[in-house]
Subunit: 205 residues, 2 copies
DNA sequence: CAGCCAAGGTTCAATGACCGAACCGACCAG
DNA sequence: CTGGTCGGTTCGGTCATTGAACCTTGGCTG
């Protein structure tokens, strides 16, 4: 990767980790994947990342076992990129990085993360202070905070405004607001239920 | 910074944080600072970073309030770079990043981190499971693990082989202590920097 | 069937970051 | 006066990133 040569000489797990996720955009791609973004185009519009870089990152992350490329539709063959356990394991790192960013450079709360089961806001390590457990990633509920733009330009940001659980696939269908007309509908948008290794189990609480 | 333009459009604390510490080498500089490296030349030989890049990173980190440049000697004017509270606050992030790197890409333990007060190895969030508190950074003791090279080339790596607390300035004085003789200056008891260590917070409920 | 559209890439020139080596200035020791 | 150290800066070459254009597959429309 970009760092390989130099970082490889370091005897340090941090350097090892940075060889894998230390390049530009990489951690933001993983963040988006945690938020439920799965498709090339959604990453593209949400991140504003150059196409070539996105393709390179998705491929590298797949090769490292952080994302998994999965066919979700055959008719026009389409793949989505889903986090593996190895990728999900980066949640605490991203959580603490985001916390640091907010505490030292953020003006207002952008997002709240709560334990979906009890509604309690997460502690600094992603734990639920009330339930006294480290909240599993699929049980983390994300809701917008006061600092978040309520009418973002891109549809992915709009879809992410709704309260949602981490890893829950972002759904672009619900309606087409802010559109004077042109009610275009993606083909085959029906029945996009995740198959196998489902990470989001409905907790009836 | 390198990322500024694009990341700035993101409404996300993680992106904000990455604007500050997301460039190549930056997190490794902070890691070294946590390990006690303070001087330009020590960063240089320990990281193997190009001089120009190191100078740029030190300046940027100082401007962001993560490092503080401090005169430690007048005769030949010499400055050292010391972590501020804002920089020390990155310890949980680096801890979890290192943990992820070790669990998913490391073969053997390179370093142990313990609570210096009781000797217990730290949990995943830097907490001491026995004392049930988040260990303040200056109370974290770092010792080499079995995977670490016992005869590294550069003197900084050699100095870091000794058990030591985080933030304790690395001392290059004991030249080639091949024998059991260890005339170390009393560490830790020295007046420490203006950084106020975090309070001892009990870990989540 | 022609034409258009969308998703998911690839290619390419230009720009910017990074690299390694050389150079520089202050200071001190011999 | 000479050499050595520390903490940089300068500079040419290389590598990564960027933004725009182009391509491919396949469905949908008329």
């Amino acid at each position: 990767m970009a760092l390989g040569k130099d970082y490889a000489t370091q005897e340090c797990s941090i350097a090892r980790a940075l060889e894998v996720v230390g390049e530009r955009w990489t951690l933001l791609v993983i963040r988006d994947a945690l938020y439920g973004v799965r498709r090339y185009n959604d990453f593209l519009v949400h991140l504003g990342i150059p196409r070539a870089v996105l393709a390179a990152r998705l491929q590298a992350l797949t090769a490292e076992g952080i994302l998994e490329k999965r066919r979700y539709q055959e008719s026009p063959p389409r793949d989505e990129y889903v986090l593996t356990d190895r990728g999900i394991a980066l949640w605490p790192t991203l959580r603490s990085l985001g916390l640091w960013g907010r505490e030292h450079f953020g003006e207002s709360r952008l997002r709240y993360f709560r334990h979906a089961v009890c509604g309690t806001e997460l502690g600094p390590y992603g734990e639920c202070p009330v339930c006294a457990l480290v909240v599993p990633v699929p049980d983390v509920e994300m809701t917008p905070g006061p600092g978040l733009d309520l009418d973002p330009a891109d549809p992915v940001s709009r879809a992410l405004l709704a309260p949602r659980r981490l890893l829950e696939p972002v759904d672009m269908d619900p309606q087409k607001p802010a559109g004077p007309d042109a009610p275009r509908k993606s083909p085959g948008a029906e029945a996009r239920e995740p198959v196998g290794a489902d990470a989001h189990k409905p907790v009836g609480a």
